[in-house]
């Protein structure tokens, strides 16, 4: 009997603890935060409400907040609230002045920016032309020893800047070594964020500090748990900002993020296509989507003899059924594309009528047979996948599709560190793989989409593609600001890259944010997907 009593007391203890856990639910939901309420159905758009903290469930942990050295996504989400650039892009990819009020281009290699007056850094000090000069000195590695500046960004973004001078307190002049049509566009990158030199002098770098002018200031950061930013009272457009702040909670598991959205414990999260349909069924959630400027593609290692044969590479493109890949991997929410995806507007070539984008297994087989392959003489290729679920899934679909044209694809899913390492070697036999499936960001200017990924010897041209005409077109395209002429050059370049099939582009996916219905005033686009200046939580 006594044993029973002992056990029942223990069990009661367990249940008590369980109840204690349960107690957290109602009490935390009952906090009078405005974001828990949903917008009245069918009412007029509610007026912006000041106050409220947006709770964002993020999928990965930021590494730090130095805009000049860091461009990883989890960090960017936070940095984009802290820092601003001279110019920024609208959703339609046109450029507007942010910290620069206006600009002039007296000749093709000179840009003069008139800065906004009264813009304050988060330290309270006014931003002047000297800060712009310091920023670019830092980026270009011209500041004192030890400051390595913006690793890498200088070569691919600001390589042609020969000098940056302050003409007066609010005027700054950039001189380029050659005309560069992408220059203004490159200034919109987070790499061009204007920073507070005093903060860098004090802290060494900005990884754990805040030297920006943006609408929010960096608050607490508990690694692997949360980061907070709060409204900057002296922001130059303070009237425009409604939110008190944003808290980024790390919820690494996607199912848990969806659960937290359902229960109203977070207001905002990014989800993959496969979970978006579940979110759409919830009355208190809505889905915001936009076409990204990213795309997935499969690249051929040109050191593999079989893949040096153009017929084999083209056969792969013919055998590829992009619609099936889009349906299986992206739930139908992606667009077939070239290396300049549709989010880039008029720069993007319409691929729907191109032969190489229409699935044609017969033609693919013909090409393979002409190259000497058949059912009895099949081609075995190895393909490296990894990094993202979408790449792993697309690889499997591709494997089935290529099996029909005498290609046996052996897929290896690599862990991310190894994937990145092998990515850099994909033009050599050392890579150990014949093909790799990749997810690339095309940037905001076609110059980056093409010359950075296809120019001979360019940083991201990892598959060893080289074509004289492409290099020539890139040089021509960057040297003129005549948009019609540039479009002509880049269209021709896209066609050459598509025909060559060294890197076969598959599709550009949509990106999703799932938010509570109370989140208003936020409209993401490929040009700017983290602008919360106008966002608010409706009552």
């Amino acid at each position: 009997m006594n044993v029973k009593k002992w056990i029942s007391v223990s069990l009661a203890g367990v249940m008590l603890l369980g109840t204690l856990a349960g107690c957290g639910g109602p009490s935390s939901n009952a906090t009078p935060a405005p974001q828990d309420s949903t917008a009245p159905v069918g009412s007029e758009a509610p007026a912006p409400v000041s106050g409220g903290t947006l709770r964002w469930g993020t999928d990965s942990e930021p590494t730090g907040f130095d805009p000049h050295t860091n461009s990883e996504e989890a960090s960017l989400r936070v940095m984009n609230q802290l820092y601003e650039t001279l110019v920024e892009r609208n959703a339609d990819m046109t450029i507007y002045g942010q910290l620069a009020e206006s600009w002039e281009i007296p000749d093709e290699t000179t840009y003069v920016f008139k800065l906004r007056e009264g813009v304050k850094f988060h330290s309270g000090r006014e931003m002047t032309a000297d800060d712009v000069v310091y920023t670019f000195d830092r980026i270009l590695g011209k500041t004192e020893a030890g400051d390595i500046g913006a690793l890498g960004s200088k070569s691919s973004y600001y390589g042609g800047v020969t000098s940056v001078e302050a003409l007066d307190t609010y005027t700054v002049q950039f001189t380029l070594d050659a005309p560069n049509a992408a220059f203004l566009g490159n200034l919109t990158s987070n790499y061009g964020a204007i920073v507070d030199k005093d903060v860098i002098a004090e802290k060494g770098d900005l990884m754990r500090a805040d030297g920006g002018t943006g609408p929010f200031t960096l608050g607490e950061w508990l690694p692997d748990n949360y980061v907070t930013v709060s409204k900057f009272a002296d922001y130059w457009e303070a009237d425009r900002v409604s939110l008190d702040g944003i808290t980024y909670y790390l919820i690494g598991d996607e199912a848990a993020r969806l659960a937290a959205l359902r229960t109203g414990d977070i207001d905002f999260a990014s989800l993959s296509a496969s979970n978006v349909s579940a979110a759409e069924k919830e009355a208190n959630l809505k889905v915001l989507s936009y076409q990204t400027n990213e795309y997935i593609a499969v690249g051929c290692n040109l050191s593999t003899a079989a893949l040096q044969d153009l017929r084999v590479r083209q056969a792969i493109s013919y055998a590829m059924d992009r619609d099936t890949i889009i349906n299986v991997v992206f739930s139908g929410q992606a667009a077939p594309c070239s290396m300049v995806p549709p989010a880039m507007g008029h720069w993007s070539l319409d691929v729907s009528d191109m032969d190489l984008y229409k699935t044609n297994v017969d033609k693919a087989k013909e090409l393979m047979e002409a190259a000497g392959y058949s059912d009895s003489n099949r081609l075995s290729l190895t393909l490296a996948a990894g990094l993202m679920d979408s790449l792993r899934q697309a690889a499997v679909v591709l494997q089935q599709q290529l099996a029909e044209i005498y290609i046996d694809l052996e897929i290896t899913n690599l862990e991310s560190g190894e994937y990145v390492d092998i990515w850099g070697k994909m033009s050599t036999p050392e890579a150990g793989f014949d093909m790799m499936i990749v997810n690339d960001g095309a940037g905001t200017d076609p110059n980056r989409s093409i010359s950075f990924f296809f120019g001979t010897g360019s940083g991201a041209n990892v598959f060893g593609f080289s074509n004289e005409r492409i290099d020539e077109l890139c040089t021509l395209g960057i040297a003129t600001t005549d948009e019609a002429l540039r479009e002509e050059y880049y269209n021709e370049a896209q066609l050459i890259c598509i025909e060559d099939c060294t890197k076969i582009c598959i599709a550009s996916p949509m990106k999703y944010f799932v938010t509570s219905t109370s989140v208003e005033g936020f409209s993401p686009s490929a040009a700017d997907s983290s602008n919360f200046r106008d966002a608010y939580l409706a009552q």
């Binding site: 044993v3 204690l20 890498g152």
Partner: protein
């Protein structure tokens, strides 16, 4: 006793040296490196060289190892390459989270496993015993990540409940801290209770068959005294060994549960470090975990002597 403790602590030294060499070598051998991770698509040979020089990764491995281990011996675990934050203070603050999780999980597993294990042994081959055995089997075989996701989904769908976000320490706000910790601790507790339950059952059963229990009962002692004072106490040694090992491995970071519940613990820190190839972070964490593991094992051994006075370390 003192001699024994001293001897055991001295034995730890070669173990830790071995582990430090092993983890250093493993981190160098696995493909991928921290510089590729930082530079991404912008990696050029010049930038790689510049960064390697900055972090001292261009020096011979032996020099790098000696430099690191020299720092560790002086209590300096170095700085994270990715975040430039000092490592040891971060490990210690993460350890508090993991230690709390472990203590709670262990406590929950004991209050489930030991009474149920004893019940199963006493009521052998009854319905209660079968129930306990099925429960134990589930505890042993259901992985804790599956249970975690399942509970999160069930609680959110059925009760609109999600564990509170934003970690706070126990000392700052005990109630909120417990609300955050209780679910992951309960899941870990349940999953480790299975093996403790089985061990308790078989160990108590074996003791109950021994003659001295008969003597105790013959002396007219109550069933409670017979079971708890005599049988359980004598059955505890294997149970304590098992619990010690489990606590040791939980303190090393309940990696997956910490990740699902976003707890800023040691396991999460190690995992992030591995993903980012942040060599000094991973090396520091693994060395610290190894040290804790060895320490827990030592404490377990010392506990034997306390439970069973016949065991002496002199």
């Amino acid at each position: 006793m003192k001699n024994y403790i001293l001897r055991r602590i001295l034995q730890v030294v070669p173990v830790l040296i071995g582990i430090s060499i092993l983890i250093f070598a493993v981190m160098k051998m696995i493909p991928g490196d921290v510089i590729s991770g930082i530079l991404g698509v912008e990696a050029t040979p010049e930038l790689r060289a510049q960064l390697a020089a900055k972090y001292g990764l261009d020096r011979p491995y032996l020099v790098q190892y000696l430099d690191w281990i020299g720092g560790v011996l002086h209590g300096d675990f170095g700085e994270s390459i990715r975040t430039s934050a000092p490592i040891l203070p971060e490990i210690l603050s993460r350890f508090k989270v993991t230690a709390e999780l472990t203590i709670l999980a262990a406590f929950i597993s004991w209050i489930i496993a030991i009474p149920l294990g004893v019940l199963a042994a006493v009521k052998r081959n009854t319905l209660a015993d079968r129930f306990v055995r099925v429960f134990a089997l589930l505890g042993v075989s259901v992985p804790n990540f599956a249970l975690s996701i399942l509970l999160i989904l069930v609680l959110s769908l059925a009760f609109s409940y999600f564990p509170p976000l934003g970690y706070v320490g126990f000392l700052e706000d005990p109630l909120r801290n417990l609300q955050i910790m209780i679910l992951p601790a309960a899941i870990l507790g349940v999953t480790i209770s299975g093996s403790v339950m089985r061990m308790t059952r078989s160990s108590v059963l074996e003791v109950l068959r021994q003659d001295f229990i008969k003597t105790v009962r013959a002396k007219g002692a109550s069933e409670r005294v017979a079971i708890f004072r005599h049988a359980l106490r004598n059955a505890l040694i294997p149970i304590i060994t098992l619990i010690g090992m489990q606590i040791g491995s939980l303190l090393g970071g309940a990696v997956i549960v910490e990740q699902i519940f976003s707890l800023p613990g040691l396991g999460q820190m190690t995992l992030t470090g591995i993903n980012q190839r942040d060599y000094p972070v991973v090396q520091g964490c693994v060395l610290f975990i190894a040290f804790i593991y060895v320490l827990v094992n030592l404490l377990t051994d010392l506990l034997y002597a306390y439970i069973d006075p016949r065991i002496s370390y002199d």
